[in-house]
Point group: C2
Chain length 181, copies 2
DNA sequence: GCGAAATAGTTTAAGATTAAAAGAACTCGT
DNA sequence: ACGAGTTCTTTTAATCTTAAACTATTTCGC
C-alpha cells in the first residue's frame, strides 16, 4: 500500500502552476495551462527527434514545409506571414538554409526589393524524408486517441480558435472564410 | 454570390501547412497543427500584452508564478524541472529578475552548490497585479466557450497528454500518480 | 517627373533557449 | 579520510525570436 504514492512524485509539469488568481477564472486558466503543456510536450519531443535524427530544427523544418507546398517559390514576406513569425526571423532562417543548400533565393526582376525562395532539388529530397518521419512521430504521439477522439478534439480546438480570433480581431463580422482545411 | 469567397482569402495560419505526408497520418497531423496554432495564437497574445502593459516577458512571468506558490523559495533545479526548461535557461532568467529586484537568490548553507530563489516583497506586489491581468486575458480569449465546452476540452487534452506520455516515457506502467490538479 | 508614402527586406540589440562541457560541492564506500 | 561518482549550477556556442530602426525600391498623387 505505502509505495503507490511514494515511488514517483514526479510529473511536476508546467501545469503545476495553476492557481494564480484567487478564485476568478480558474477553469479558463486550467484549460490554458493544460493546452500549453500538451503543446509544449509534443513540440519538445519533435524538436528533439528532428535534431537527433536529422540535425535540424523545427523552424527550419516548418520553413521547408511551407516551401514544399509552393513549387513556384514564396516571397519572404509571405513566408513570414504564413509562419507567423517576424520578417527578421525569416531572413536569418533563410540565410542558414541557403547555406546548407536546401533552399535558394532569387531576387525578383519586377521588384528588386523582393526575393523568392524555393526548395532546391536536394532540399526536396531531404524534406521528403523528414516529412515522412515527422508524420510518423506525430501519429505515434497521438496514437492513444481513437480517430473519433481526434476528430472531436480537433473540432473543439476549432471552437477555441474562433474564440481567440473573436477576442483579438475586433473586425470582420461576416463569413470568416476559414482557410483551414 | 460571387464575393462571399473572394473578399478575404486571409486567415493563412500555420495550419495552412498540413498535407506533408501523402495520405498516411493526415488526421493526426491536422490535429497537431491546429493544437499548435491555437496555443501559439494565445501565447502570442499574452506575450504581447505582458510586454505592452508590464514590460515583461512570458518566461519571467512563468518563473514568478512558480515562485508565488512557494513562499519558502525554490531551488534552481526544481524550478528548471517545473518550468520544463534547461538549467542554463533558468540561470539567465533568474539573473535578470534579480537585477530587476523582483526576486532574490540565497545560497543554501547546508549545500553551497544550491541556491534558493524567492519573490521579494516588491516581486509579490508586482506579480499580483500581473496575475490578475493575465487571468482576465485568458478568460477573455476563451470567453466564447461555455463552461461545459471548456471542461470537455480540458478532459480531452488530458487524454492527449496521457497519449504523449505513453509514447515518450517507456517506463512506469504502474499508477502514474498524475500530479495534475 | 517629383517627392511623399508605402512596401520588402535587412540589421541591430536584447532576450530566450538548448545541449554540452566545465566547475564546485556533496555523498558514500571502504 | 580518500577518491569515485553524483548533483547543483554556470558557462559556452549556436540558434531562434522579436521590436525597432534602417535601406532600398516601388507606387501614387499631382
Amino acid at each position: 500500500m505505502s509505495f503507490t504514492r511514494a515511488v514517483l512524485p514526479e510529473h511536476i509539469d508546467a501545469e503545476f502552476k495553476v492557481g494564480e488568481s484567487p478564485q476568478h477564472h480558474r477553469g479558463e486558466l486550467r484549460l490554458w495551462l493544460r493546452l500549453l503543456t500538451v503543446a509544449n510536450l509534443i513540440e519538445a519531443e519533435i524538436r528533439k527527434r528532428l535534431r537527433e535524427r536529422f540535425g535540424t530544427t523545427l523552424p527550419r523544418f516548418d520553413l521547408m514545409a511551407q516551401l514544399e507546398r509552393a513549387p513556384e517559390g514564396i516571397f519572404l514576406g509571405e513566408l513570414s506571414r504564413r509562419m507567423m513569425v517576424s520578417n527578421g526571423n525569416v531572413t536569418g532562417l533563410v540565410e542558414r538554409l541557403v547555406q546548407e543548400g536546401l533552399i535558394e533565393r532569387q531576387v525578383s526582376e519586377r521588384d528588386r526589393r523582393a526575393a523568392l525562395v524555393r526548395l532546391t532539388d536536394h532540399g526536396h529530397t531531404v524534406f521528403a524524408e523528414m516529412a515522412r518521419a515527422h508524420s510518423d512521430w506525430v501519429a505515434e504521439l497521438l496514437s492513444q486517441l481513437t480517430a473519433e477522439e481526434q476528430k472531436a478534439l480537433w473540432s473543439k480546438l476549432g471552437d477555441l480558435k474562433l474564440s481567440v480570433h473573436a477576442a483579438t480581431q475586433p473586425r470582420a463580422e461576416a463569413g470568416t472564410t476559414e482557410e483551414d482545411r
